[in-house]
């Protein structure tokens, strides 16, 4: 849970910083002029890297496709838009998003595939502990494996706490899953 907080805080800081810094990246502004067909001239899209005050047809449309006297009429029909993005923000966002997604997927694979396997292997030669655990009456399939793991290695106290919190969370999710997916009590 703390980790989650940290990640969120980090994201926030990243964004505030990036939105300040990356706007200065010179690649990130453009003036896009769309000029529709005019007489024999085809429609054209012009993009130039100019500042906001220079964003008009006269500065952006180069080379001018029409002769001097028609320039005004041609430019009147062009639509110029100043656009700004921050490529740094996009890059960081997508990479952060993909890494969070990847971590979640890895954790999901661990929870659903690896842990039951570990459990089976451990239970192969620890029948005693299992019967002791039965008293707890836990319906969760992999909670027992965790008990076994934490007991057999006698981990330091801090880790045990994390284990405990994780188990409590899992029980909550189990409960939620039952009410949403199995019994259809809420959210249907």
């Amino acid at each position: 849970m703390k980790l989650l907080f940290c990640v969120e805080g980090l994201c926030l800081v990243c964004f505030v910083l990036l939105s300040q810094v990356s706007a200065k990246n010179s690649e990130d502004i453009r003036c896009k002029c769309i000029c529709p067909p005019y007489r024999e001239v085809e429609g054209h899209i012009y993009k130039q890297n100019v500042s906001l005050k220079d964003c008009n047809c006269l500065h952006v449309v180069e080379p001018m496709p029409v002769a001097g006297k028609d320039v005004e009429a041609y430019c009147l029909r062009c639509e110029c838009k100043f656009e700004e993005r921050s490529s740094g923000t996009i890059k960081v966002t997508i990479i952060i998003y993909l890494s969070i997604l990847g971590l979640l997927l890895l954790y999901m694979v661990y929870l659903t595939l690896l842990e039951p396997m570990l459990k089976r292997r451990l239970f192969g030669h620890s029948q005693l502990i299992q019967s002791e655990d039965d008293v707890v009456g836990d319906q969760q399939p992999f909670a027992n494996a965790h008990n076994v793991l934490s007991r057999s290695h006698s981990r330091p106290n801090m880790l045990n706490k994390v284990e405990h919190a994780q188990q409590r969370w899992r029980r909550q999710v189990q409960e939620q899953r039952k009410s949403v997916f199995d019994r259809h009590v809420v959210l249907s």
Partner: protein, 769 residues
């Protein structure tokens, strides 16, 4: 003191001391007292009075020292700090979602070779393909078929692209549904019905938790990118509320008081809509009109602030590169004419019909899912719906792209860049007017082509949305509804435009549409249609118009939007009183007492109260003759959530009310920590415990957990009044007396069941307490 007691003989004074220690013990609050169990209703009155107590304590302490004064100031400011944090986080998350959706949607079609994190538009940011024909072809961006086979044209490339589009869509939705299933089942759905219920005073533990926040944010991107007919707006409200709940836990003022917490959540909902539509004021009004239950002025100002901060944060991220908060911002300011109100009202009728149809069909389908075998295969259902959507959506260019982009194209008037078929009008080659004043023109073949494609898209959207809303991934309803309305509106708009062009000698067009004038804006029709359809589904009026008006940034279109919104509400109300959110609340049987319903039946409190005529008598506690064992038996044998305390069973005069949870906790705590409390100890709810001989077991004083001011009505109070009291004060239960004697109890559940019965619905559908 205890030592002294231990050695001296039991004299009256010592016993007084003994009672004193008892009081001391009880003054230390034991953990969890005053909290609620999962799926229970809170008592607003109690929460309010607890907050007043806390506030009084802080004020009186603040006079003592400078430090306490600073602490009290911090406490007073904490509300605003929470709002600031909510605004920052929800704005940031909305930005992340927008950027990631933009990228992932395009990932279905191709990839940017120069930098994989760019979407199509960003990838071709500086490309110099200048002609119209080549504008979508920049070398950095490659479609999948082009990347794999090298061909861009031909049936093979099309089929390969088609196949990969479906594959990506299936992958995204599969990831979304499995993540939801494994980590946070509460993250599915739109979330607004549940948030409405929570704000009305219901507890769903974990619904606004950190995991829900994380998973909802991550899977929302996947769900929207998969091309399903759903939007991100409703889930964003849920995300913002999760942010609110997250920051509540930082301040004890909000984390310990469920009533205060709901004030923050109301404001958070406003921030959510603010970033979803880029409409801060619309967000505040949405929170007020649609989701909130208890909305004092203080919350109004705070939600205003939160919405402002959120919108500002999103604006500084600038996810769409257009300096706007939404993709479908419109910029035209062409006028409209009085006669156009007729098609606008017709669109309102269409919106109302769509709303009524959607609610009926969707609720029927959701009920099927809830009760039949269908509900057993949530993952398969998502996969099948995605597959059908992707297979049908790809061939039609209007459904292939993201729904937001579709809405954006439909809202916007045909500009200079005649990119889409929708703008394939026959131009007058000699025309040399600026782009924002192009007169009405005859439609070219592209427009007619676009019309039937749009008609197909409309039917597709109408049908698929009914089956999509409610599947087990985050899914909002605003965007698909708006899309349906926008498509219908655009079709009507083009029809009116062409009619005006070809028949400008007709009487109705004569006055306002001279040849060569730009008199019909089809984009405006799309906007009005979108508003009407959204209004028909959600039954919003004021906030809807304000949201739409903030999208357009022009005051000119308020009257058309209002006309459409009101018409659609009338039409939809004719088919059924409830909006989609209330219908879902009802389907799930949440204990939601709607402020808007009217109760007009002439029943009395005595008809509703428990116990009924043939029931066993009311379970009560007496103030000074019940033993701990009796109480424990009572708790074990019954499942009531609270017990009235009376003077004695003979007189039945009421003293107060005690909550079951507090009672259990207090007894458990006393048994563990307090010496001498055994099963035969007498429980006292009186001011002072009487002096007992030493042989008797230690008494247990529980006056601390007794609510001395329970709400009472007489048995002849009309139910109309009782319902009003429950609504306005947010009661959880109310005691019924006759000439001072306790007769029975009415709980919120009883009221809801009675209301359901009066409306000829199944009273057993109300599930929770």
């Amino acid at each position: 003191m205890e030592a002294a007691e231990g050695v001296s003989a039991p004299t009256p004074t010592e016993e007084m001391n003994g009672a004193g220690t008892l009081m001391d013990f009880l003054d230390e609050p034991f953990p969890d007292v005053g909290t609620y169990e999962d799926f229970h209703t809170i008592d607003w009155l109690r929460e309010k009075s607890r907050d007043t107590d806390r506030h009084r304590k802080i004020t009186s302490k603040s006079r003592e020292s400078l430090w306490e004064l600073i602490k009290s100031l911090l406490d007073a400011w904490s509300g605003w700090v929470v709002m600031l944090l909510i605004g920052l986080l929800s704005g940031t998350l909305a930005g992340v979602i927008d950027l990631a959706v933009d990228w992932m949607t395009d990932l279905k079609e191709g990839v940017c070779l120069s930098a994989f994190w760019y979407s199509h538009e960003q990838c071709c940011w500086t490309s110099n393909q200048t002609t119209f024909a080549d504008r979508d072809k920049c070398p950095q961006w490659q479609k999948w078929a082009e990347l794999m086979t090298g061909h861009t044209e031909g049936a093979g490339a099309y089929l390969l692209n088609y196949f990969l589009y479906i594959l990506w869509a299936l992958l995204f939705s599969f990831l979304a549904v499995t993540l939801v299933r494994v980590f946070a089942p509460y993250a599915c759905g739109s979330g607004i019905p549940e948030i409405k219920t929570i704000l009305s005073g219901f507890i769903i533990r974990g619904y606004l938790g950190k995991w829900t926040l994380l998973i909802k944010t991550v899977t929302l991107v996947l769900a929207v990118s998969s091309g399903l007919s759903l939007g991100k707006e409703g889930p964003l409200v849920h995300v913002a509320c999760c942010c609110g709940n997250l920051f509540c836990s930082l301040f004890s003022k909000y984390s310990k008081n469920e009533g205060k917490r709901r004030e923050v959540l109301s404001a958070a909902a406003a921030a959510g809509v603010s970033v979803a539509f880029g409409a801060p004021i619309g967000g505040v009004l949405f929170s007020l009109e649609e989701v909130s239950y208890y909305f004092p002025l203080k919350t109004l100002w705070r939600s205003f602030f939160a919405a402002l901060v959120a919108a500002f944060t999103l604006r500084s991220i600038n996810p769409f590169g257009n300096s706007r908060l939404v993709l479908f911002y419109v910029e035209y300011h062409t006028p409209w004419y009085m006669a156009e109100l007729v098609p606008f009202i017709l669109l309102g009728v269409f919106g109302g019909l769509w709303g009524a149809l959607f609610i009926r069909a969707n609720i029927a389908w959701c009920r099927r899912r809830k009760t039949t075998q269908l509900g057993k295969y949530p993952v398969l259902e998502v996969i099948v719906v995605t597959a059908i959507t992707a297979v049908l959506a790809y061939p039609n260019p209007y459904t292939r792209r993201s729904t937001s982009e579709l809405i954006s194209e439909l809202f916007n008037d045909c500009g200079a860049l005649e990119s889409s078929q929708l703008c394939d009008y026959i131009n007058n080659p000699n025309m040399s007017r600026p782009v924002d004043d192009i007169p009405d023109r005859p439609a070219g073949p592209g427009v007619y082509n676009a019309m039937w494609q749009l008609a197909l898209a409309l039917i597709f959207k109408i049908v698929i949305t009914i089956f999509t809303f409610g599947i087990k991934i985050p899914s909002g309803l605003f965007i698909p509804s708006m899309a349906v309305g926008a498509i219908a509106g655009r079709i009507v708009g083009i029809a009116v435009e062409q009619m005006a062009y070809h028949h400008h000698d007709w009487i109705i067009f004569k006055n306002w549409c001279r040849p060569g004038a730009d008199c019909v804006t089809p984009g405006l029709y799309a906007m009005v249609g979108a508003a009407a359809c959204l209004g028909g589904v959600t039954r919003m009026t004021v906030s809807l118009v304000v949201i739409m008006f903030e999208l357009t940034g022009g005051l000119e279109y308020i009257v058309p939007l209002m006309a459409a919104a009101v018409t659609s509400k009338w039409v939809a109300d004719a088919f059924g009183k409830e909006g989609i959110y209330e219908s879902h609340i009802q389907l799930n049987g949440y204990p939601y007492l709607d402020v808007r319903d009217e109760f007009t039946h002439r029943t009395l409190a005595t008809d509703v109260m428990r116990p009924r005529r043939n029931d066993p008598p009311l379970a009560v506690l007496t103030q000074d003759s019940t033993t701990v064992e009796d109480v424990e038996t009572l708790i074990k044998d019954t499942d009531y959530n609270g017990f009235p305390v009376v003077v004695s069973r003979e007189s039945e005069r009421l003293i107060g009310f005690v909550q079951r949870r507090d009672l259990t906790l207090a007894i458990k705590n006393a048994r563990q920590k307090q010496d001498g409390v055994v099963s035969s100890s007498v429980v006292y709810f009186t001011e002072d415990a009487p002096q007992l001989p030493a042989s008797n077991p230690q008494p247990l004083k529980l006056r601390r957990i007794l609510n001395l001011s329970p709400f009472t009505v007489t048995d002849h109070t009309p139910m109309e009044t009782v319902v009003d009291i429950f609504r306005k004060l947010g009661l959880r239960q109310c005691l019924v007396t006759r000439s001072g004697r306790l007769l029975g109890i009415i709980t919120k559940k009883d009221v809801l069941r009675h209301m359901a019965q009066m409306m000829n619905q199944d009273p057993e559908s109300i599930m929770f307490n």
